[in-house]
């Protein structure tokens, strides 16, 4: 188990990167704590797998260093880094039994035979595979195979970190929940540093203590699920986390007022920015409806009932905007919108403008 330091790390698949856009992974400088559960979240092609492969050693970064417990491992091979990785598709050794699969990494590391027998037996117990232990791994279901892939990492007690590359992609929906719970249990029991790559926000938010949100090769925010929800540091985070995502409306700031076209919205504090690319962000959960004439005039396009709540889809000065209505609330006649003032975030060039900005 180890802390992982990313020291001004960047990577480009182009041997001679010229512009920023040539980098699949833009510079990142961060330290991951020992024993933490982290999720790398972002859409396909955002660089999260690149980052994972750099950590596991399958890829050498073009810039910067990676350190495990302060020790530089940038140029070490995967097997020398003592990490485990679970891939998108379960990797098992077809011709071996479940037991042999779990013993394989230990045999390769010349662990004494009686120690292997003991650890493998423990692991079979932990993974609930006791009844399948002596069967060929080939015939098992996808989730059982994925458990074996995980087990091959866990059976080495001293692994520095366990990396997951979208491990639930091929698992049936009802098994996903079980396997995720199992993962959380194991994390609590064994305390390994775990890094989990996914594009599914539910997986990321339920699994991780801290979520690293990536967008176009850039780490746009690292934070707890609450932080990501309350204060998205980037409009992408606001849009990507939450369902429906945050409303992002182009506006102009004039002291304590935001102007969207002719509509004026009061802000919680004064902003001193003059850039052209200013946006206002407000989560649909903090938009309420009223029949108050003083509210923000909108035109309602649709109301979608999705069980626990309703989504009101509306139009404000040509921009689409959503509001969430709690169960039992109804849409008033001739409604206007009201924003919770202290929940409004202001973005300049897509990045959050923090206090004092």
């Amino acid at each position: 188990m180890a802390s992982i330091t990313l020291d001004r790390l960047a990577h480009s698949y182009d041997p001679n990167p010229k512009t920023d856009a040539d980098f699949a992974l833009k510079e990142i400088d961060y330290e991951w704590e020992d024993g933490g559960a982290y999720a790398l979240l972002g859409p396909s092609g955002c660089g999260k797998t690149t980052l994972l492969n750099i950590i596991s050693g399958l890829l050498v970064p073009s810039k910067g260093h990676i350190k495990f417990d302060g020790k530089d491992v940038t140029h070490l091979q995967p097997e020398e880094r003592n990490i485990a990785q679970v891939f998108q598709f379960p990797v098992i050794y077809d011709t071996m039994t479940v037991r042999q699969n779990l013993a394989f990494p230990l045999i390769n590391r010349r662990v004494p035979q009686d120690e292997i027998t003991k650890r493998v037996a423990d692991m079979i117990e932990v993974l609930d595979l006791a009844d399948k232990a002596d069967r060929k791994a080939r015939g098992l279901t996808a989730d059982e195979k994925q458990k074996i892939s995980l087990g091959r990492g866990l059976v080495r007690y001293d692994v520095n970190a366990i990396l997951f590359d979208e491990p639930l992609t091929v698992i049936d929906p009802h098994m996903k929940w079980q396997l995720r719970t199992k993962l959380k249990d194991l994390h609590r029991q064994l305390g390994h540093t775990m890094i989990y790559v996914t594009h599914d926000q539910t997986e990321a938010l339920t699994f991780a203590d801290k979520v690293v949100v990536m967008y176009e090769g850039e780490v746009v925010q690292i934070g707890t699920p609450e932080e990501l929800f309350d204060e998205p540091a980037h409009t992408f985070v606001g849009y990507f986390i939450g369902s429906p995502g945050m409303n992002v409306l182009p506006c102009q700031i004039n002291g304590k007022t935001a102007e969207i076209g002719t509509t004026k919205i009061e802000l919680a504090r004064e902003y001193n920015i003059s850039g052209s690319n200013i946006e206002l962000g407000i989560r649909p959960e903090f938009v309420s409806l009223s029949s108050d004439r003083a509210g923000i005039p909108v035109q309602i396009d649709a109301v979608e009932n999705i069980g626990r709540f309703k989504i009101v889809r509306a139009n404000l000065e040509g921009h689409s905007i959503n509001a969430v209505l709690k169960e039992g609330e109804s849409v008033p006649a001739d409604p206007t919108f009201r924003f919770a003032t202290d929940r409004i975030n202001v973005y300049e060039n897509s990045h959050l403008v923090r206090a004092g900005g």
């Binding site: 399958l58 995967p78 097997e79 598709f89 990797v91 050794y93 394989f104 990494p105 390769n108 091959r152």
Partner: protein
């Protein structure tokens, strides 16, 4: 649920049936017809019963040829399968060299059988052939036309040169279809090169390997053109394989009855050996029914 049943569907398979009948069933039945009868020309046939079969099975000539066939197949399989796997493993998986390698590998497969025979016939000649001349200059007394060992060595070398590519291409196709994650996982598990081959590559190319094995067995067991062109079955009868013997009997001596009987026996041997191979190889490494699952 009742399946809709419509006899008209039989009409849809008539074209296929007609084609198969023309290409396979009718010729085979003709052979069967010859194998149980005797003829002296003029389309006069006399019933011969199992006489020809008894003749064939009790002749040394048949058993000798069969022995040579098996020896040849075993030798070339023992060389071509490991060699083919080895070459496929060393071939690049991506980059500009892939098409170069593939085309180079495919070249021998594109050459007609009798041309292959002719190439090696000239190649091995001591007066004008590169191989024969070089060996001669090195002081090796090499002559495929008079020395049994030289004749066999040349035929085997020729077959290896001609057909190893097929094994290579099949194995290569199997190897490139293995997802990269397997190699990465093996690396992380600390597996040696041999373990990667034994536990990942070999199991994953098992399917294509069975096909390569069967194709090479059938083809080598029915070999005719190349040795016929190269040695004509000599020296003596040392490279007379069953197919060569068969042609001698049927067209050389016009013994249609014994030749027909021999063809049928020949075909039966190829079929049953392939069946045995296929059954055995498909079952190797497959789960045996697990007693604990049933109860």
């Amino acid at each position: 649920m009742d399946k809709p049943y419509n006899n008209k569907a039989w009409f849809l398979v008539v074209p296929v049936f007609a084609l198969v009948a023309l290409s396979a069933i009718i010729p085979i039945m003709t052979v069967v017809n010859y194998s149980f009868q005797d003829t002296f020309g003029n389309n006069q046939f006399f019933w011969a019963g199992t006489e020809w079969f008894q003749d064939v099975l009790s002749s040394d000539r048949f058993w000798d040829a069969l022995g040579r066939n098996f020896m040849f197949s075993v030798i070339i399989l023992a060389i071509e399968i490991p060699l083919g796997i080895g070459i496929a493993l060393t071939m690049p998986k991506k980059g500009i060299w892939v098409p170069v390698c593939l085309v180079t590998m495919a070249l021998p497969l594109l050459i007609p059988w009798n041309v292959v025979g002719t190439i090696w016939q000239i190649f091995g000649r001591a007066d004008i052939g590169l191989l024969g001349y070089s060996l001669d200059q090195l002081g090796v007394n090499y002559n495929y036309a008079s020395n049994i060992f030289d004749a066999w060595a040349t035929i085997i070398l020729m077959d290896v040169w001609h057909w190893t590519s097929l094994v290579v291409l099949l194995c290569y196709a199997g190897l490139v279809s293995i997802p990269e994650a397997y190699y990465q996982a093996a690396k992380i598990d600390g597996a040696s090169k041999w373990s990667v081959f034994r536990y990942i590559q070999l199991p994953k190319i098992r399917g294509v390997l069975i096909i390569a094995f069967l194709l090479r067995f059938m083809d080598s067991f029915m070999i005719y053109t190349e040795p016929f062109v190269l040695t004509g079955g000599g020296p003596g009868n040392s490279t007379t394989f069953m197919s060569i013997d068969l042609v001698k009997q049927a067209i050389g001596q016009f013994d249609l009855g014994p030749a027909a009987a021999m063809s049928l026996v020949y075909q039966l041997i190829v079929l049953s050996v392939c069946y045995v191979f296929f059954t055995v190889m498909s079952n190797v490494g497959v789960d045996k029914p697990d007693a604990r699952v049933e109860d």
